[in-house]
């Protein structure tokens, strides 16, 4: 664990992207009902930055005249907000009841094994983040897996390797 002083220094030195920050500030200033719009502001911030690190939460709190603890309380309450950086691709596995009944839990285990990460974590290479999500409403295709916006329906455990490899290959060919 870092001590509090180190943490504070880190907060102050970690630079947030100034361009994105000014967009966010503009958005906050344009709000009529600031206090009631915290969730909208956080949506905007996550849309811009991809996730909500602590220093960004602190920044939002100061701009909105709210205690940082309250902002963090809201961020940690809702599953849509994430405090961890996300991989290049987000793999979302639908854990709705229809998908569960059709074996989504087994697919999830296979994904965890093959990616070597737990739920809501990013792979070491930064390529994927694994997430379980609630019903996406495509129950006719259960079990359903999404890689970013691309939907894979009727997924079987043995398909996973092939699907992941596709994204890894893409990355490789971009790299060279």
């Amino acid at each position: 664990m870092k001590n509090a002083k180190d943490r504070l220094v880190e907060l102050n030195t970690e630079l947030l992207d100034q361009e994105k920050l000014s967009v966010l500030e503009g958005y906050i200033e344009g709000l009529e009902d600031k206090a009631g719009s915290l969730i909208h502001v956080l949506h905007k911030a996550q849309g811009l930055f991809g996730y909500l690190p602590e220093n960004l939460q602190l920044h939002v709190a100061r701009k909105m005249d709210l205690p940082a603890a309250k902002v963090n309380g809201v961020v940690s309450f809702y599953s849509f907000f994430t405090q961890e950086p996300r991989g290049k691709h987000t793999i979302s596995l639908c854990m709705g009841t229809a998908c569960f009944v059709k074996g989504a839990d087994k697919i999830f285990k296979t994904l965890k094994d093959q990616l070597g990460v737990e739920n809501n974590k990013m792979t070491e290479d930064g390529l994927f983040t694994l997430k379980d999500i609630r019903c996406v409403g495509a129950c006719g295709l259960a079990p359903v897996m999404l890689v970013d916006d691309k939907v894979y329906g009727h997924v079987k455990a043995e398909d996973i390797q092939r699907i992941l490899q596709k994204y890894r290959d893409e990355e490789d060919s971009n790299g060279h």
Binding site: V136, G137, A138, C139, G140, L141, V144, V151, G153
Partner: protein, 130 residues
């Protein structure tokens, strides 16, 4: 234009009815054929965008200028997404399910051009509307 009375609304409705008469009654004032494609989240997840693209391409290839594609919500037939309804003048609407890109092309080349049904993909409408 803001509508300020029921009479004004009814005028707009009469004018708009032409748009949907074909869908309901198989009547058309313009001789247009209409293809409705279910573009709700479920349909899109099942590949409705690709289906729609294939429909546009096939219409283009066939050189048809009297076919209109309309995006609609879902009819609830999740088991058969993507769904497509074809409404031609003087014919009752026909509903197709599981329309992938190939079936989309067949809807143009067979159903519209040759008046043949694609039997394996016909869906029955199993409800009445209020």
């Amino acid at each position: 234009m803001a509508i300020k009375s029921l009479e004004e609304l009814k005028k707009i409705r009469e004018a708009s009815k032409k748009k949907v008469d074909l869908r309901e009654k198989g009547e058309s004032t313009e001789g247009m054929t209409e293809i409705l494609i279910g573009m709700a989240t479920c349909g899109i997840a099942a590949g409705a965008r690709e289906t729609m693209k294939a429909l546009y391409e096939a219409i283009d290839e066939a050189g048809l200028d009297n076919v209109r594609i309309i995006q609609v919500g879902c009819m609830g037939y999740c088991h058969s997404e993507p769904t497509v309804q074809v409404s031609q003048p003087s014919k009752a609407p026909v509903l197709y399910g599981k329309v992938d890109e190939q079936i989309a092309r067949e809807i143009i080349t067979k159903h519209i051009l040759k008046d043949e049904f694609i039997d394996d993909h016909l869906l029955n409408k199993t409800f009445v509307k209020a």
